[in-house]
């Protein structure tokens, strides 16, 4: 334990490092006291389970990044668990419920878009005609994607999902855009 020495024997830097050390010690004991309470009251009983999950996850990632690892079968030329293989573009044929025509499954969405008059291209066409413009306002209330029941803290929702891409690109998922 250090006692305060005579003023003239003490340099400022020694004093400040002493004080710093005291503050640091105090903070460390604070953390230790807090952790002691958590451990003693059993508030961290899931710690072992959490560490196990972390370990498994790290192992999984290591194996996944290993080039020699076969990994998940990719590509659309694999056989599924029922022994079936499927073409890249779904070729089931059924009737469109809007117009009645026979449509191939993999091309149903683009067809339906035109069929229902939805989508950007259709909307662009519509702005050019006055009757269509009138219809737009009477078509019924467009639902905003932010319902009263969505997470109040989430702010990352665009009010309309359309993007610049409308091609026949088959790959098919994207995250929201501003």
């Amino acid at each position: 334990m250090s006692m305060l020495k005579e003023d003239d024997a003490f340099s400022n830097s020694e004093l400040s490092s002493d004080i710093f050390r005291d503050i640091l010690d105090s903070i460390i004991v604070d953390v230790a006291s807090e952790s002691h309470r958590i451990a003693r009251l059993g508030l961290d009983r899931n710690l072992d389970l959490e560490e196990e999950e972390l370990r498994l996850s790290a192992e999984a990632r290591a194996r996944a990044s290993d080039p020699s690892h076969s990994g998940e079968a990719n590509g659309k030329y694999i056989v599924d668990i029922f022994g079936q293989s499927h073409p890249a573009i779904a070729n089931e044929i059924f009737d469109c419920m809007n117009c009645g025509r026979s449509i191939m499954a993999g091309r149903f969405a683009p067809h339906l878009e035109k069929c229902m008059g939805k989508g950007r291209k259709a909307r662009l066409k519509a702005t050019r005609s006055t009757t269509a413009a009138q219809n737009r306002y009477t078509r019924g209330s467009p639902l905003s994607s932010q319902t009263p029941y969505s997470n109040s803290t989430s702010t990352n929702r665009s009010s309309n999902g359309s993007s610049a891409i409308a091609g026949d690109d088959y790959s098919n998922g994207n995250l929201e855009e501003p």
Binding site: L4, S26, V29, D30, S33, E34, H36, R37, R40, L41, G42, L49, E50, E53, L54, R55, S57, A58, E59, A60, R61, A64, S65, E72, K76, D80, I81, H86, E92, C96, M97, G106, A109, L112, K118, G119, L143, S145, T147, P148, Y149, S150, N151, S152, T153, S154, N156, S159, G161, S162, S163, I165, S171, N172, G173, N174, L175, E176, E177, P178
Partner: protein
């Protein structure tokens, strides 16, 4: 003595504490209570007079940790193991064995040289703190007004009870192990619809939702017959999907009618293009609610909506705003269907024992870390001052989120994209997020957060729901790969402890490590009590209508 301490392991006090309590009871605690100083939102400590610095009664030193004896109030210091004057104090004064750490108001046994705990002491500290806080509206500590009805959580409907369902399920136990679980069927991509297929797979296998539709709670034939004019009914289209997926037919199914209906419901999302799976998820739940929920649900109406979408997914979030000056806390409650989380980028993994380089800490983003981030107290900027009712002026505030009520099925959404308003562009965060298969949501409950705010003292706060089940098991993970503009969604389903990859029409078996290494975007967890494990495994057997227990299921091998 507060009896409801079931969340804490039973503490066995040391002999010295027991002796002290027998001799002095609560006298010392009450005296300490008077000299406690509790800051509005921080820790409690023993009040130190501003004119004097505490000095050790033995050595008159200022250094080290100070402890105040509960019997004679003399203060002694303890500086590591070199000089333990607290021990000396107890040795030179008979039975002066219990002291209080003046910095943190924690009990300390001078003989055991260890921190000790007593619920009655904690109660004294908490009560002092609560007295110091302004009278809260519906504040940090619950007032009598907001009461959660202690409704049974597994309340699906009058005729659905787990016991009878279990009986039915047990009769069908002779199931060959080589069979695949029922309800596994690929979904055809109709053109940029993998966002839809991925979420549908998760919904199809959400146990409460699956049970609802398979018990015929919304029969599409009966519904449409009732009101033919009201043709648009998303629940009916979902019922059709359930029938198709559980029919036993293994060829991929095309959810075309569903797409058609959904586009009519969500006009602003109706277009042939890549979309966001989370947005779709919310939109579908909205569609179900529209049809099956109460027509108008005013915010003031505290009665929970009973539509299946809300019964399964709806939880309650609590947001606390605390004035940093006076400690006045106001709480608001908002229902939520999911929780959107930011990736915790700044953390570094504390467990270095399993890495190859023990000295290197690799920053790992974890789901629990993201949840910690979501519930941490956040200092609002000085440009965001909140009007404090108690202070009657604008003050700096702390904001803290917590979960008041957990849903049956918890959907966690990872915010993987970043908006930069400066650069006017968005980018996707590909960073891997570790997520557990078993998740305990207890630390994120409002009761736990409030408890933590009071220093984890042993005290049962009003509004504590002790029988709440907080353990969840993951059953579906929607992953995203690729770029913001063009990517692909795949769902991993966990059925009877086997993981299946659902990539549109292709269903394959995968090892769990593939799932752990994947890039999760939407995670679906179900309460453990709802998803049974072991011999009564319900995840592979559908719930049959109680009227007809022995209806054979087509395709049941």
């Amino acid at each position: 003595m507060s009896a409801r301490n079931s969340s804490f392991t039973t503490l066995k006090p040391c002999k010295h504490l027991v002796d002290y309590k027998l001799k002095h009871g609560l006298k010392g605690y009450n005296l300490i209570q008077d000299s406690l100083k509790c800051s509005p939102y921080g820790t409690s400590m023993i009040n130190k007079p501003k004119s004097e610095i505490p000095r050790c009664s033995f050595c008159s030193g200022y250094n080290g940790r100070f402890y105040m004896c509960l019997i004679c109030s003399s203060v002694t210091c303890r500086v590591a193991s070199e000089s333990n004057h607290t021990l000396l104090h107890s040795e030179s004064n008979d039975s002066h064995e219990i002291a209080v750490d003046i910095e943190r108001a924690e009990l300390y046994c001078c003989v055991c040289c260890d921190q000790v705990y007593d619920p009655e002491f904690d109660k004294a500290v908490v009560c002092k703190k609560m007295m110091g806080l302004p009278e809260n509206g519906n504040g940090g500590i619950e007032g009598g007004e907001f009461r959660l009805s202690k409704r049974k959580r597994l309340d699906f409907g009058a005729d659905f009870d787990l016991k009878s369902v279990k009986r039915l399920v047990l009769r069908k136990k002779q199931r060959s192990k080589s069979c695949f679980p029922l309800g596994l069927r690929g979904l055809n991509n109709l053109g940029n619809t993998c966002f839809m297929n991925s979420v549908l797979q998760a919904l199809i296998h959400a146990p409460p939702l699956r049970n609802y539709f398979l018990s015929d709670k919304h029969n599409h034939e009966r519904c449409c017959r009732k009101s033919p004019a009201d043709k648009l009914c998303l629940p009916c289209d979902i019922d059709v999907i359930f029938s198709a997926v559980f029919s036993g037919d293994k060829s991929p199914y095309s959810p075309a009618k569903f797409l058609y209906s959904w586009w009519q419901h969500s006009e602003n999302l109706a277009s042939y293009e890549q979309q966001d799976a989370h947005e779709f998820f919310i939109s579908v739940l909205d569609g179900i609610h529209e049809k099956l929920g109460k027509a108008s649900l005013a915010i003031k109406d505290k009665e929970d909506c009973q539509c299946i979408a809300h019964r399964v997914f709806s939880g309650l979030l609590r947001s606390d705003l605390t004035c940093t000056s006076c400690g006045f806390t106001s709480s608001t409650y908002d229902p939520c269907l999911d929780i959107s989380l930011d990736l915790n980028i700044s953390t570094s993994s504390s467990s270095t024992d399993f890495t190859s380089k023990p000295n290197e800490t690799i920053p790992v983003s974890t789901l629990t870390g993201s949840l910690d981030l979501f519930t941490r107290p956040e200092k609002l900027g000085s440009d965001q001052k909140i009007y404090c009712e108690n202070c009657q002026e604008k003050q700096n505030a702390l904001k803290q989120m917590s979960i008041k009520k957990l849903p049956l099925v918890l959907c966690l959404h990872i915010k993987r994209f970043e908006h930069s308003t400066i650069r006017k562009m968005s980018r996707k965060i590909d960073r891997h997020l570790q997520f557990p298969f078993s998740l305990d949501m207890n630390p994120y409950l409002s009761s736990s957060i409030v408890k933590k705010r009071f220093g984890n003292r042993i005290f049962s706060f009003e509004g504590d729901e002790l029988d709440v089940s907080t353990e969840f098991e993951v059953f579906a993970v929607v992953t995203h790969s690729g770029m913001l503009e063009s990517g692909h969604y795949v769902t991993y389903l966990r059925l009877t402890n086997q993981w299946y990859r659902c990539d549109d029409a292709w269903i394959t078996e995968v090892d769990e490590e593939v799932v752990r290494a994947s890039q999760c975007y939407l995670m679906f967890y179900v309460q453990k009590v709802v998803c049974n494990k072991g011999s009564d495994d319900m995840s592979c057997q559908p719930v049959l209508p109680l009227a007809d227990p022995f209806v054979p299921i087509a395709g049941y091998c």
